[in-house]
């Protein structure tokens, strides 16, 4: 056969590697306690599963629905978020339903970002931001969160942006900043004051804000999730992204949404109609019904939005304790379901490992094979300049059932015995 000369397009050049493809394969072995990928092994609430079974039984719901979002779902989303944001949200023009929050990030970036633009990304960052910005032909501009304390018990609140450093990153080419709050992987919940600093810069430079708020309901005691879109001057320049997977512990449903002003959302809708056109129907109907159930009890502590975060707070505390007992100093997150920890204090010498990879990559691979425990290396979430700064950290996911955390406990308790 004749050789086919054609290569891939320029837009995907260099975007083929991916931390998940590398690490989910390694951790797939069932004998490994998997605290790596952000995947709940707890069950979604039973009413959520029931609604999907009910939807699947309706003939019409097995066929195409409205492209930009199933009518009952966009209606439910508009009600929930009108209440949260305190403003009118039009279900047909201000909302787009996408294949996961991932799909919302893609639609937003493809719609609004192009060659010549710069996009500010806060490090560490959910890894897809960088390749998506590059695929759109734009330049990612990184700014790290910096740990400001020297204390013994670190909190995600100790990780902050330097205001002057941030201001310096904005210029006339800055099309957008990507904000992620609650933050993955650190678990930081940006305060109103911190959001105001970002908002002021967006307004001053007429930049957009892409606000990834998938963990919006997962905030722990003493913290409040604030939507940057509700700050003055921000609604008209912000796309706020949410996720069914994170809201209802159904990552395998892959449903997310973008909410914002019509004049921005309409461009995301154009991208959507030219990429996958419509999202699955029965899943959207089930999600709509689940949202109605919880919308009606938003004043009740039993509402899943609040009960899940209470359940996770005790898992967070347990995870932190286990790591501390193993001699580690975890960064206690104010939100989200990840916890990062500095492993350099364990002094595991991996200098003889041949591969040219950052320390944390080598550490996690070593931990998987020798300790049967998996995590994710933090340098996967950094730009090239800061990898050295973050390569001593690894990320654990704690949205796991008790038996998984029990198994992790056994490994961590025995850690020192084996390495001594």
């Amino acid at each position: 056969t004749m050789a086919f000369r054609h290569k891939n397009t320029r837009r995907i050049e260099g975007l083929d590697s991916n931390v998940w493809v590398e690490f989910t394969k390694v951790a797939a072995d069932p004998s490994i306690v998997n605290l790596g990928q952000g995947l709940p092994d707890i069950s979604p609430p039973s009413y959520v599963k029931e609604e999907l079974a009910k939807a699947a039984a309706v003939d019409r719901l097995n066929q195409y629905t409205r492209g930009f979002g199933h009518p009952s779902l966009v209606k439910a989303l508009s009600q929930v978020y009108e209440r949260v944001c305190g403003r009118k949200i039009d279900p047909l023009t201000d909302i787009l339903v996408t294949v996961g929050a991932y799909g919302s990030l893609f639609s937003t970036i493809q719609a609004l970002i192009e060659e010549g633009d710069e996009v500010i990304i806060i490090e560490p960052f959910y890894d897809c931001y960088e390749p998506m910005v590059k695929m759109a032909g734009a330049k990612p501009v990184f700014i790290p969160l910096r740990y400001k304390n020297d204390g013994s018990s670190a909190s995600s609140a100790d990780w902050v942006l330097d205001a002057a450093e941030l201001a310096n990153k904005f210029n006339s080419k800055t099309k957008a900043i990507i904000l992620n709050t609650p933050h993955n992987p650190i678990g930081k919940v940006f305060t109103r004051e911190e959001l105001q600093v970002i908002a002021d810069l967006c307004i001053k430079h007429d930049s957009l804000c892409i606000s990834d708020e998938v963990y919006e309901w997962l905030v722990y005691k003493g913290n409040k999730h604030i939507k940057i879109a509700t700050l003055p001057g921000m609604w008209e320049r912000t796309i706020t992204i949410g996720s069914a997977g994170k809201t209802y512990s159904v990552t395998g449903w892959k449903l997310g949404w973008s909410i914002g002003p019509q004049n921005l959302i309409k461009h995301l809708q154009v991208v959507h109609q030219n990429t996958l056109y419509t999202c699955p129907t029965p899943l959207q109907e089930a999600l709509a019904q689940a949202f109605w159930i919880d919308y009606k009890r938003m004043d009740d502590p039993d509402c899943y939005f609040y009960s899940l975060s209470r359940e996770l707070e005790s898992k967070r505390d347990r995870m932190a304790q286990l790591l501390q007992e193993a001699g580690l100093k975890p960064v206690i997150p104010d939100g989200g379901y990840f916890m990062i920890v500095d492993v350099s204090t364990l002094n595991v010498d991996l200098s003889d490992v041949g591969e040219k990879q950052p320390y944390d990559y080598k550490f996690v691979k070593w931990m998987i094979t020798s300790k049967k425990l998996s995590a994710i290396p933090l340098s996967a979430f950094c730009g090239p300049e800061t990898k050295r700064q973050f390569e001593k950290y690894i990320r654990f996911c704690f949205i796991k059932k008790d038996s998984t955390l029990d198994a992790a406990e056994v490994i961590l308790k025995n850690w020192n015995k084996e390495t001594a």
């Binding site: 056969t1 004749m2 086919f4 054609h6 397009t9 320029r10 837009r11 995907i12 975007l15 083929d16 991916n18 998940w20 493809v21 989910t24 995947l39 709940p40 092994d41 069950s43 979604p44 599963k49 079974a53 699947a56 003939d59 019409r60 719901l61 097995n62 066929q63 195409y64 492209g67 294949v99 991932y102 799909g103 893609f106 493809q110 719609a111 609004l112 970002i113 897809c128 998506m132 695929m135 006339s172 007429d206 997977g245 159904v250 990552t251 395998g252 449903w253 892959k254 449903l255 004049n263 921005l264 154009v270 991208v271 030219n274 990429t275 996958l276 056109y277 419509t278 999202c279 699955p280």
Partner: protein, 398 residues
């Protein structure tokens, strides 16, 4: 003060420049209109009989619905969580097995198959992976509407070549087989900028099932010019009158340069599940994987599990009378014949489709009911379709 004023002026001018530039990216230029958005709304407002948008109004087969319910309610609640990004293992395994048999090849489920959010997203991945600024893509008219905007969004130039009707024999209705490419005309469309050709067989909207001879012609040109073939075969099971759906990837020199696209929505009458796939050599699919992992990454899990079981069942019943693929084609052939009769009776001239569940009819006899408006920007068929929706309690697309 002078320095501060000049700084403010610079900032003001750069803000003005930013504000005068449109907020949206240039890649959206000219691709914002969409026929479905307009006509679906219209049909929902007026009609009781919607024969416009392409989806069944009957349910998927029981065995598939049962598989879905089992996936949802079973012991394994992990079917509500992420599965493998490039395709749920049971699904890619059965697809590799099934299509491997049909193509006479050993397919690796991990590298030669990728699952997508409907065939629509498979098409998107192909264009994004292979069409660069300045590349030309040959599109056969009439075509499923998304090919053109997707090529444009990728910065490519669509190059059209029409199927042309030959007059049918006296007294006979026209068949989709009477619509053909002119070989010389097709050959003239290939240039050194041509990157790919999009083939859709069976063809939506005409229902044409390209013959082996026609495919060999296209294949020869693909090999000669060393281009990619994006083969949209979503209606592969809906072929009538004993005709054969020939897979272009099985022709000489084609496997290495073809991406085959399929759809559970069309295969199993479950368009709302949005499960599609690509099949091809890893050398091509690796680039689709790159696009996929940077756009949607994972596809929903439970429906993939159910479709896998659907294919398992069909593999066991393949070619037998109780195969869903056999039964659906038989049932749809009857519906086709009935619709052809009705349209013929009312004076429309239907083109009898060899495949798919679409049928095109010539409405020129109705010029007296819906007169032509010479200066109208809107094409005649579009105006006719709207008139029909509003006045005849029936809907179809232009």
């Amino acid at each position: 003060i002078a320095i501060s004023k000049s700084f403010k002026l610079t900032l003001f001018l750069s803000l003005q420049a930013k504000m005068s530039k449109p907020v949206q990216a240039q890649r959206l230029e000219g691709i914002d209109k969409n026929i479905w958005v307009e006509f679906v709304k219209l049909a929902a407002t007026y009609s009781t009989v919607n024969l416009g948008q392409g989806f069944p109004d009957f349910p998927p087969p029981d065995f598939l619905k049962e598989a879905f319910v089992r996936a949802l309610g079973g012991e394994n609640h992990m079917l509500h969580q992420y599965t493998r990004a490039f395709g749920h293992p049971p699904l890619v395994k059965i697809l590799a097995q099934f299509f491997g048999k049909l193509l006479g090849r050993d397919l690796d489920p991990m590298t030669d198959v990728m699952v997508t959010v409907g065939a629509y997203q498979a098409l998107f991945c192909c264009f994004q992976a292979f069409v660069d600024e300045g590349d030309e893509v040959i599109i056969i008219e009439p075509f499923f509407d998304c090919y053109e905007p997707m090529v444009k969004m990728a910065g490519g130039t669509p190059v059209f070549v029409p199927l042309r009707p030959k007059a049918p024999k006296d007294g006979k209705l026209m068949s989709s087989a009477d619509w053909q490419l002119d070989p010389a005309e097709l050959a003239s469309k290939f240039s050194k900028r041509t990157k790919a050709i999009v083939l859709n067989s069976p063809n939506n909207p005409l229902g044409k099932v390209f013959s082996r001879g026609e495919l060999e012609l296209i294949a020869a040109l693909c090999v000669k010019h060393d281009i990619l073939c994006i083969s949209d075969e979503v209606y592969e099971w809906l072929v009538y009158d004993g005709k054969e759906h020939v897979r272009i990837a099985s022709l000489q020199g084609m496997w290495d340069r073809t991406v085959i696209i399929g759809s559970a929505g069309k295969t199993f009458s479950a368009t709302g599940w949005k499960v599609g796939w690509t099949v091809g050599p890893s050398r091509l699919l690796q680039h689709l994987r790159t696009v996929h992992q940077n756009s949607v990454y994972h596809c929903a899990t439970a429906a993939q599990e159910a479709v896998a079981q659907g294919f398992q069942r069909e593999l066991e019943h393949y070619g037998k009378p109780d195969s869903y693929f056999v039964q659906l084609a038989k049932e749809l052939q009857q519906k086709r014949d009935w619709l052809v009769q009705s349209l013929d009776a009312v004076g429309m001239k239907p083109i009898v489709p060899e495949g798919t569940y679409f049928l095109v009819a010539d409405i020129s006899e109705f010029k007296s009911d819906v007169p032509d408006v010479p200066d109208s920007e809107e094409p005649y068929d579009s105006r006719f379709a709207k008139w029909m929706v509003k006045n005849k309690v029936n809907a179809s697309g232009p």
